[in-house]
């Protein structure tokens, strides 16, 4: 009955929704480690995340749109992170802030989760130890693009198939190889 005109209206409504959402990001800062300092620097007046409409941290997952996971996540903390993510209302996005949350970083031990994308789907990866504020703002702008398009990540990373994580973040490194390298030297 409506045809192309209906599509035109829905598309325009989605555009408007995306535009509204990307400039009113209510974030939940899940800050566990040293990256938190850089997160605070980004949020303060010198770099001013509020220019992008993302200056308002809500310390309740139910009121937030974007989960900022800032800092190393241990196996003990992992169920808490998953619960916080599950408590957020749709639509929701996840930012992995710092290399520990992206891949586990330089940790390869009994206590650390090797990338939060094994537990919750991640939209934007901001590697760095810690990332510079400029880097964070770059990630934020990329996130805004994603929100504008209405895209959301739903897949988890599978360490066996290596699917679900950007190739740049899949370094060919293992501690076994490192130890062999030391022993052969």
């Amino acid at each position: 009955m409506f045809g192309p005109a209906e599509n035109f209206i829905t598309t325009k409504v989605n555009d408007a929704l995306g535009w509204a959402r990307k400039f009113s990001i209510f974030q939940y800062p899940f800050v566990t480690a040293c990256c938190g300092m850089e997160y605070m620097a980004t949020n303060c007046s010198h770099y001013d995340q509020d220019r992008f409409g993302a200056g308002f941290p809500r310390f309740s997952p139910r009121q937030s749109d974007v989960l900022f996971v800032v800092g190393t996540i241990s196996h003990k903390m992992a169920p808490v992170l998953k619960m916080v993510f599950d408590q957020m209302c749709e639509p929701k996005w996840v930012v992995a802030f710092g290399v520990c949350t992206c891949t586990g970083g330089f940790y390869d031990n009994y206590s650390t989760v090797m990338g939060i994308d094994t537990i919750i789907p991640v939209d934007i990866y901001i590697p760095g130890c810690p990332p510079r504020p400029e880097n964070v703002l770059d990630g934020l702008i990329k996130l805004q693009d994603k929100i504008q398009k209405g895209e959301q990540s739903t897949t988890l990373y599978d360490p066996r198939t290596k699917i679900g994580r950007p190739a740049e973040l899949q370094a060919d490194y293992s501690i076994e190889r490192h130890i062999k390298h030391i022993e052969s030297a």
Binding site: H75, A78, Y110, T118, P159
Partner: protein
């Protein structure tokens, strides 16, 4: 008269060996005498060690040529400091692998409570008389003790998510 000489005068039979390096004095004490030595260090006015600075353990499993051999795989290390006299001493206690257990010091220094829980968590050394000896860093589901040298470095025990 140095601290070690005073200690040796009182507990000659219980001290395995002593050494001192540039004022850092160390005494290796038999496990059975730990409580008595600690009490003496804390309560006697000339010692008056009112501050337990550190308490940890060492696993000598792969320590080639070490003094601690297979029958005593672990060693407890205590660092004491006296705020009054401004002196410090280190006490070491060898701990058997078959029955890794020593007396708690949490009744003398309340600060020992969490340190001892950490040593139990990471090394699996039990503390006789500890009021609440359970894991402090790892979760209850964790199997084994992570800082033991025979704990596989690549062993993962995630609560949720894949093993990786």
């Amino acid at each position: 008269m140095s601290l070690l000489e005073k200690l040796q005068g009182k507990f000659a039979a219980d001290i395995i060996e002593t050494h001192a390096f540039r004022g850092d004095e160390t005494a290796v004490v038999r496990p059975a005498a730990l409580k008595a030595v600690a009490k003496f260090l804390k309560d006697s006015p000339e010692m008056d060690f009112n501050f337990l600075m550190d308490l940890t353990a060492v696993d000598y499993l792969f320590f080639a040529g070490g003094r601690v051999q297979k029958e005593c795989r672990f060693e407890m290390v205590y660092h004491f400091f006296s705020l009054k006299h401004n002196h410090r001493i280190r006490i070491k206690v060898p701990v058997d692998e078959k029955n890794p257990e020593v007396d708690t010091l949490s009744d003398l220094w309340p600060g020992a409570d969490w340190y001892e829980r950490e040593v139990w968590d990471m090394f699996g050394i039990k503390f006789r008389g500890h009021p609440n000896l359970k894991r402090i860093l790892m979760y209850e589901e964790f199997q084994g003790h992570a800082l033991r040298k025979d704990y596989p470095f690549n062993k993962r025990q995630p609560l949720i998510g894949p093993v990786n």
